[in-house]
């Protein structure tokens, strides 16, 4: 019983601490990259490990300019991302187009729902680290 209570308290504390650190990481390292853009209201951040993926489906509106930013902790290595249309056609691949940049700027001629897929690379390291990954979207007219 005592162990269960300690376990639950510990879990709650770790989850809260990790979430808080991720928020802090996002504020410090990611939001500044959206300067000049109106940031989307949604907070999309998660703690991921090597081999994990993340997906974001979002409607992008015609006539708007967007910046899509995938911001990740360096310990996770070269996190890559792709953009697909609703039919699964790949429109953008960060590995081919922007290997050194964590964001992509694009204009929408039409309103479309796009899917962003984020990939955290596998690691051969014996000790595996986890780190924050945040997906942010900014827009301007």
């Amino acid at each position: 019983m005592k162990h269960t209570i300690i376990l639950l308290l510990t879990l709650g504390l770790f989850a809260t601490t990790a979430d808080a650190q991720c928020r802090s990481f996002t504020k410090k390292n990611c939001l500044t990259e959206l300067e000049g853009y109106i940031q989307n209201d949604n907070y999309n951040s998660a703690i991921l490990i090597p081999g994990d993926e993340a997906q974001l489906m979002l409607t992008f509106l015609a006539g708007q300019e967007y910046r899509l930013l995938v911001c990740s902790h360096p310990v996770l290595g070269d996190v890559t991302y792709e953009i697909f249309d609703a039919k699964g056609k790949r429109l953008f691949d960060s590995r081919k187009n922007e290997p050194d940049v964590s964001y992509v700027d694009f204009n929408m001629e039409t309103t479309q729902q796009l899917q962003v897929q984020v990939h955290v690379p596998e690691t051969r390291s014996a000790i595996m680290h986890e780190g924050c990954v945040t997906v942010l979207v900014g827009s301007k007219s």
Binding site: T10, A18, S24, C132
Partner: protein, 306 residues
């Protein structure tokens, strides 16, 4: 002595590891903690957002999002629509909302009104709504998203539309983040859903004088409605959230009259390095469908502001 302490801690470490490995709920947000397999020194995430993991199984984290009210307001303005002050929910009404559900719903409503006023450079109106939003945020226990420093910054820049837009966007991002962090995702869902409803309500006023482009943009909101429903359905369903989503079923029904044709998506790279994405679906709606959407939106919105 130290070995004994470690042995006593094993059940906790094992349970913690099992809890984290098996998923603990369903989001990756829940995964963080100590490495129980090798060393016991590390574990807590450092200030840069990194830690040694205990998790072995990879996962796919699904994020849900929807365009912000600021984007909708911007779209309304670009479509050639005019500002209609009479369409806003009065900023003085905030103290009528006494339950947390109603406060969250009207935080979304006021957020959309604020975005609309700010985009149309009705700065004095914007300040009134910011003040009401501050009061509702206080009532919901997230008052720090609109601190006195932020309010002072607003006052100092009351004539600068771009700075006001930045402040409003940051405020609603912080609000969303704080509500999620506090375990109040249902309230975050109410803010998002009601904010979309209010944005649509403002877009569908005075339709008789609306330019064709605005009607086109209203039809395209079929996709955004899909985003909003997906986002809100991903949260734990409280009675208030499920009631609001159920009421929005009438809007979904009205949107069933919107038709679409799809062409292949295209991408072109500009000289500046940015991309242009075109093609994809084209939406169409006749006047009767647009009026049905406007009517359904108005009914849901009227219930929201009661």
């Amino acid at each position: 002595m130290r070995i004994n302490q470690r042995i006593q801690a094993l059940p906790i470490a094992f349970g913690l590891g099992l809890f984290l490995i098996t998923g603990c709920g369903e989001t990756a947000d829940d995964h963080a903690g100590h490495d129980h397999g090798t060393s016991h020194e590390e574990g807590e995430m450092d200030n840069d957002g990194m830690a040694v993991t205990t998790r072995q199984n990879t996962l796919t984290k699904i994020f849900h999002a929807a365009p912000s009210p600021m984007e909708t307001a911007s779209l309304i303005k670009r479509s050639g629509a005019h500002f209609h002050a009479d369409a806003l929910n009065s900023a003085d009404e905030y103290n009528r909302y006494t339950t947390s559900d109603k406060q969250a719903i009207n935080l979304g409503i006021y957020g959309a009104d604020l975005s609309y006023a700010t985009i149309f450079e009705e700065n004095s109106t914007s300040l009134d709504y910011l003040s009401s939003i501050k009061s509702l945020s206080q009532a919901l226990g997230v008052s720090d998203v609109l601190s006195q420093d932020v309010m002072n910054e607003v006052e100092e820049n009351r004539n600068d539309r771009d700075i006001l837009i930045d402040i409003v966007s940051e405020t609603f991002y912080d609000l969303n983040e704080r509500l999620k962090f506090n375990g109040q995702e249902d309230l975050a869902g109410l803010v998002v859903a009601s904010g979309w409803v209010e944005g649509m309500y403002l877009a569908t006023r005075h339709l008789e004088a609306a330019p064709e482009e605005l009607k086109q943009r209203i039809a395209e909101q079929k996709l955004v409605l899909n985003d909003v429903m997906g986002l809100c359905n991903s949260y734990e369903q409280t009675p208030a959230l499920s009631d609001l989503l159920a009421s929005m079923g009438s809007i979904e029904a009205a949107y069933s009259g919107v038709t679409s044709t799809t062409s292949e998506s295209t991408t072109n790279r500009e000289e500046s390095g940015s991309f242009t994405i075109g093609g994809g679906p084209t939406f169409a709606a006749d006047d009767a469908t647009i009026l049905a959407i406007a009517s359904a939106v108005e009914s849901v919105r009227t219930a929201c502001i009661q």
